[in-house]
């Protein structure tokens, strides 16, 4: 600690560039977002301070509440379906089955394709009149199950989420790097003890990649909470606002030149996201401490 105190000027100098940039491009804009959220402002006339009116209006708006709920569903679906699915594929590919390099590329490929192109593709797949899903259902004699997938309140949200959940490539690559770094000797020892493949993955792979899983889940939750693109492109929040998300609500307020309320949405989004991520991380770290104590 004494050494640290002696070098504070040097340390400060090293931290300064990052601090300046962080302040310029994050802290100050964040402060401005909060400041504008307390104003009535159309971006053209002078701002007028209105206190918490924008927040009160926001939380009295059922569409916005629906948006929070849907963002939460998005976050949970990505964290607890997409990430485990990615972990499963990563564990399979770690065993290097035939063609595993090709499969790794195939799974990752959608992550380098534009989100717009993917959304357009899925709009066609889901189309009620000529979409591939309905065509397939008709072909196998299940015409009764055909739907207007993006136009029904019951199916629109799951349809948009599913198309996103299937693209596991990003998390798979991260988890694959983690699984591949586990020493082979662990598995060899387990094999000598008679453990089968499932036991090896359950007792060795999963505990070893747990911290990376938590990172992936945190990333997935943060993405789910700020999700916007696919919903905007595929349903624009419809039908009947059933796929509304906070980001889209913010976009609509901005399009209406209601920057005060748009920034109130932005502030809420940051607060809700931050709170959920802190809670999740605390939960995992508590479990880790409990597990350490047992051991």
């Amino acid at each position: 600690m004494k050494q640290l105190n002696k070098n504070w000027k040097g340390i400060g100098l090293f931290l300064l560039p990052a601090g300046v940039l962080y302040s310029l491009f994050f802290i100050i804009p964040l402060g401005f977002v909060f400041y504008v959220s307390l104003q009535s402002w159309n971006g053209i006339s002078a701002m007028e301070f209105i206190g918490l009116t924008n927040y009160r209006n926001l939380f009295q708006n059922p569409t916005f509440i629906l948006g929070i709920r849907n963002n939460f569903i998005w976050a949970m679906a990505l964290a607890f379906i997409q990430v485990p699915l990615a972990a499963l594929i990563a564990m399979i590919l770690t065993r290097k089955p035939r063609g595993w390099r090709f499969l790794r590329t195939v799974y990752f490929l959608p992550n380098v394709i534009s989100q717009v192109a993917i959304a357009m593709l899925w709009i066609s797949i889901y189309n009620a009149e000529y979409g591939a899903i309905n065509q397939f259902l008709t072909m196998i004699g299940l015409e009764d199950l055909t739907q207007n997938w993006l136009g029904q309140i019951e199916t629109a949200l799951p349809a948009v989420i599913i198309q996103q959940v299937l693209y596991i490539g990003y998390f798979m690559i991260i988890l694959l790097a983690a699984t591949m770094s586990i020493p082979e000797s662990f598995y060899e020892a387990a094999q000598l003890d008679g453990a089968n493949v499932f036991q090896q993955d359950w007792y060795i792979t999963l505990p070893m990649i747990k911290s990376i899983m938590v990172v992936c889940m945190t990333l997935a939750i943060s993405y789910g909470l700020r999700h916007f693109e696919a919903t905007f492109l595929m349903t624009n929040g419809g039908p009947a606002n059933s796929t509304m998300v906070m980001g889209l609500h913010l976009y609509r307020r901005t399009s209406s030149l209601d920057y005060g309320q748009a920034n109130a949405v932005g502030t809420t989004l940051i607060l809700v996201g931050g709170t959920i991520i802190v809670v999740i991380r605390r939960l995992f770290s508590r479990r880790d401490k409990a597990a350490d104590a047992v051991q």
Partner: protein, 426 residues
């Protein structure tokens, strides 16, 4: 390890250098500019029917004013993206030198403050005489004209004569009973009567159908009435019927303008609504549907027959400036774009309608569908605006959501209107 102070300071300066360079970049003195360059982020590029002639006009203007004025077009081919670009630029106080905006209550907020160039006095002279009656008035707020009326629109009902004939209908119905009878005949012949949509930012096609119905029941001044007026619920009941019993396509709920227009172009649907700017698109992509298209008024159950939905579509605007030379350059370009001969070229090539009077040069072959637009415009018993022209963007967005809910049987026509009223704060 003890940190060498000199090395630490040097490293610190090195790390700070990029940030200092970025911060200082804007302070470099701009080279002296003799030529006035006006940047024009524009939507009239790419697939837009006006793109070719707009580019020609800009090139001709630049050649005629070489070394003095140069218009620098900045393509922005997505309509929503363009609107966002203009909104955010203006909010940041960086008004584009030249731009185009859709005429609606949200965009008219640009008139607040002194960000836009004021053309009020300029348009009082001979320049103002070029415009059709009411166009300048429609672009006036608080006595000031801060944008130049340019493109106008008429959105009649398009119908496919070949499909009507296949269903045994020889002419477009002129009564409401006849309209629904025709819909039944079309369905019996395996043809979907109408294109509809709840998607996009404004549920465009259905919003126009609704505007036709509302105008038919409520007359030309219907939008001056509050949404609590019964006319709006009555119109919603008819709109709902259009979504029921196979009167529209199965994918109408959630569909966007591409789907709605696509069904008409593919001759899956017999009726559709859009403006003249769509002529270029359908002529190129679906020549058969284009050749079979005729235009009509909606024969609703109301007392106001023969009306059309028409509105000011887009205005030209410019950033305000204290530089007289720059202001003169902007006005020179605006006058060039609104030159009747140039507007004639634009209109005849794209099919679009404009707020500027022009003569069609003798011997010029006018697109037959555009000719029909001109005829139906002059024969309309009245012209009313559409829903979108009377409500801010968030209310227009809510129209599609409320319509989706009603079409799916989740709400009644009364609840449909209540949802829109709530969004509009009425």
């Amino acid at each position: 390890m003890r940190l060498n102070k000199t090395v630490a300071i040097l490293l610190g300066v090195l790390l700070l250098a990029p940030a200092l360079l970025i911060a200082g970049g804007g302070q470099q003195a701009a080279p002296e500019q003799r030529e006035i360059v006006l940047n024009w982020p524009t939507i009239w590029v790419g697939q837009d029917a006006k793109a070719t002639v707009v580019e020609q006009l800009v090139n001709e203007f630049n050649q005629a004013n070489a070394g003095q004025i140069r218009i620098n077009m900045q393509p922005s081919p997505d309509y929503d993206g363009y609107r966002d670009l203009i909104n955010t630029s203006i909010a940041a106080g960086q008004v584009p030198d030249l731009f185009v905006f859709n005429v609606d209550p949200t965009q008219f907020q640009y008139y607040d403050g002194d960000l836009l160039m004021d053309f009020t006095d300029d348009l009082k002279g001979p320049w103002g005489n070029r415009f059709v009656d009411g166009a300048i008035q429609a672009s006036t707020r608080n006595g000031r004209v801060k944008s130049v009326p340019f493109e106008s629109a008429l959105t009649p009902i398009w119908y496919n004569t070949a499909l009507f004939e296949r269903a045994g209908i020889s002419q477009f119905p002129t009564t409401n009973a006849g309209f629904w009878e025709a819909a039944e005949k079309l369905k019996a012949a395996g043809i979907v009567p109408m294109s509809h949509m709840t998607g996009g930012t404004n549920a465009w096609t259905s919003m126009l159908w609704y505007s036709h119905i509302v105008a038919n029941i409520g007359g030309p001044d219907v939008w001056s009435k509050p949404l609590s007026d019964p006319v709006f619920v009555q119109a919603a009941e008819i709109l709902l019927r259009m979504y029921q019993d196979g009167n529209t396509t199965r994918d109408a709920v959630g569909a966007d303008a591409g789907v709605s227009g696509g069904h008409y172009q593919a001759q899956n649907t017999a009726m559709f609504i859009n403006g003249p700017w769509y002529i270029g698109n359908i002529r190129t992509n679906s020549p058969e549907a284009y050749a079979n298209t005729r235009l009509a008024a909606f024969p609703g159950p109301g007392n106001y027959q023969g009306g059309q939905i028409g509105f000011l579509l887009s205005n030209l605007a410019a950033a305000n400036t204290n530089d007289p030379a720059r202001r003169a350059a902007v006005i020179k370009f605006m006058q060039w774009m609104t030159e009747p001969a140039n507007v004639a070229r634009l209109s005849l090539d794209s099919g679009a309608l404009f707020t500027i009077r022009f003569d069609i040069p003798p011997g010029t072959e006018v697109d037959p569908l555009q000719q029909m637009f001109l005829e139906i415009n002059s024969s309309a018993t009245f012209i009313a605006e559409h829903f979108q022209a009377n409500f801010p963007a968030d209310v227009v967005a809510e129209f599609g959501q409320a319509l989706g809910s009603m079409a799916l049987g989740r709400s009644t026509p009364q609840q449909f209107i209540a949802q829109i009223r709530a969004a509009a704060g009425q």
